[in-house]
């Protein structure tokens, strides 16, 4: 009889699709078309970057719609378009907290609190990178160079995730061996960066923002429709395991990374992770460096654009992952090494067929490419502008420009090699560590310092040193199951805040006239 039974009837699940090249061809066509449009856009819209400065951040003439879409694209990465579905697929509803539900709460403060300030630092003081702005704010070369190093360190981790996202997609649509999938993903990234996309033109980023938003939104609607709507989704999940419908999964360990799903401390931490990381991500904040001065209407437009890309599509991602669990049951976890991260691509194949899958695949690549290219640009600029140029000011700008291009290659190869040697298990968790570190440090060093006059270079340096050490050591403890990942977030965030304020208060602030220049003529 059909009584409620703890032994799951395997017939309720859809069989896991066997990837074949028919989807791969569509994907190649879709991605090829996107790359072509990106390249054309770059070609027609980009004024030739004549100087080293213009190469790094453009000409301060980009409008609100493009800046808004571009911010959406750099904020949302392979984590948002693939990893988030992997989380809710793996643990059920309790994964939604870490699976992107705080996206808007995270990204809006970045826009509201740092946008205008960064634009002002770029226009008034000629800041070309985020570290550059910090160097100006603290009048300190040490802060500038150290912040550049810290950003590079965490962004390499984050970049690994983008390569894995690309490779996972290739597996889903071709079924090729893991190594080939990674090589294909790497190849596309390299093509994109070499043929002009590498300047991370706001126009290409904006197109990618729009694509990823549309792709995820449509997949979410199709997925929910496929499982039969909201209540059917819950019923199917409960049929496999009632714990999948819990908002807090108390059956999972409250230490290690599962703390983010199993305890109130962990769930509260997810809010803070998102809240701090959007502002803490230099590749997000860097979007405002090339922006023109906004008026009231512009401001409303930019907010709307960010909301459209980073809001509804990402809220639906959590649901897509759940739908995938309802459809496939736990079977995707057996597909190594991709596992839960296959949740969305396989569901798009089963529920949406070729058109939806192609759209979604293009969306994931748009997200991964935009974040990766923006990050690689930030990292390369960090080395040349914030480390080499700061300490060797006499080096010619031509040499610096060439060096920046060399470092673009280097910063693509490092994460590629890493993904090749040791691909991370669950994308979202791996990238979570980078977010905890970057967010905890730069929410203070960037956002707070733009408003708090008393902040000093010593406070910022202490904050960066503490943040890196605490995240590194803490992540080892989380992996060993000694503490929870949510607890680590609080250790990093509260600790960074404490040393930042303490370090600032025990040292002398910048001279009055300097502060007046930085804070006096506020354009708000």
């Amino acid at each position: 009889m059909n009584d409620i039974n703890i032994i799951v009837d395997e017939n309720i699940f859809h069989s896991v699709p066997t990837p074949d090249m028919s989807y791969g061809i569509w994907a190649i066509f879709g991605i090829g078309l996107m790359l072509l449009v990106c390249i054309l856009l770059g070609f027609f819209s980009r004024k030739k970057a004549k100087s080293f400065e213009a190469f790094l951040s453009g000409h301060n003439d980009i409008g609100p719609v493009i800046t808004g879409l571009a911010l959406g694209a750099t904020w949302l990465s392979g984590w948002a378009t693939l990893g988030m579905m992997g989380v809710t697929y793996q643990v059920g509803w309790s994964g939604m907290w870490f699976g992107g539900m705080w996206t808007i709460i995270g990204v809006m403060p970045c826009l509201f609190f740092t946008g205008e300030k960064m634009q002002m630092y770029a226009q008034k003081f000629g800041a070309r990178t985020v570290s550059d702005a910090l160097g100006i704010r603290f009048d300190s070369r040490i802060v500038q160079s150290l912040s550049a190093l810290v950003m590079i360190f965490f962004m390499i981790l984050y970049a690994v995730g983008q390569f894995k996202a690309g490779a996972t997609i290739w597996y889903a649509v071709t079924g090729l061996p893991a190594i080939w999938c990674l090589l294909l993903a790497g190849l596309i990234v390299f093509i994109y960066m070499i043929v002009g996309g590498y300047t991370g033109t706001q126009w290409s980023l904006a197109l990618q923002g729009a694509l990823l938003g549309i792709g995820c939104f449509i997949l979410g609607i199709v997925a929910l429709n496929f499982v039969g709507g909201p209540s059917a989704l819950n019923m199917k999940l409960a049929a496999e395991n009632p714990a999948l419908t819990d908002l807090i999964r108390r059956d999972l360990p409250s230490v290690g990374n599962t703390q983010l799903f199993s305890s109130p401390v962990g769930i509260l931490a997810t809010l803070f992770i998102f809240l701090t990381m959007a502002t803490g991500f230099p590749h997000n904040v860097a979007r405002f460096l090339g922006m023109r001065k906004l008026n009231k209407k512009d401001y409303m437009l930019i907010t709307l654009m960010v909301f459209l890309v980073a809001g509804p599509p990402i809220f639906l991602n959590a649901i897509t992952g759940l739908c995938s669990r309802a459809v496939f049951g736990p079977h995707l976890l057996d597909v190594k090494p991709w596992k839960a991260d296959l949740a969305a691509p396989f569901l798009s194949i089963v529920a949406g067929g070729k058109p939806v899958t192609t759209l979604y695949v293009v969306g994931v690549f748009a997200a991964a490419l935009s974040t990766l290219s923006a990050m690689v640009m930030v990292m390369a600029g960090n080395v040349t502008r914030d480390i080499i140029h700061v300490w060797r000011p006499n080096m010619s700008h031509n040499t610096l420009l060439k060096l920046t291009k060399v470092f673009i290659g280097i910063f693509l190869l490092i994460p590629f090699y890493w993904t090749f040697k040791r691909p991370p298990a669950l994308l979202a968790v791996f990238m979570g560590y980078a977010s905890i570190g970057l967010g905890g440090i730069f929410i203070f060093c960037t956002a707070f310092s733009f408003y708090w006059k008393r902040a000093t270079a010593f406070g910022a340096v202490l904050c960066m040193v503490y943040g890196v050490i605490a995240t590194l050591i803490g992540s080892i403890f989380v992996t060993k199951g000694k503490i929870g990942m949510g607890t680590l977030e609080f250790i990093v965030l509260i600790g960074c805040g404490f040393v930042y304020f303490f370090g600032s208060l025990v040292t002398k602030p910048l001279p009055q006239e300097k502060l007046k220049k930085l804070f006096g003529g506020e354009n708000v």
């Binding site: 939604m96 908002l247 008026n295 409303m300 907010t303 809001g311 354009n523």
Partner: protein, 32 residues
């Protein structure tokens, strides 16, 4: 709480957060 209610609550709260933030941000904005 029902999981769908929680989901809707966050969606609505995020929208209000955006609108309120925007309102506060552009209040008294000097158009130059």
């Amino acid at each position: 709480m029902n999981n769908w209610s929680a989901w809707w609550l966050i969606v609505i709260a995020s929208t209000l957060f955006t609108v309120l933030g925007l309102f506060l941000r552009i209040r008294g904005w000097k158009n130059e």
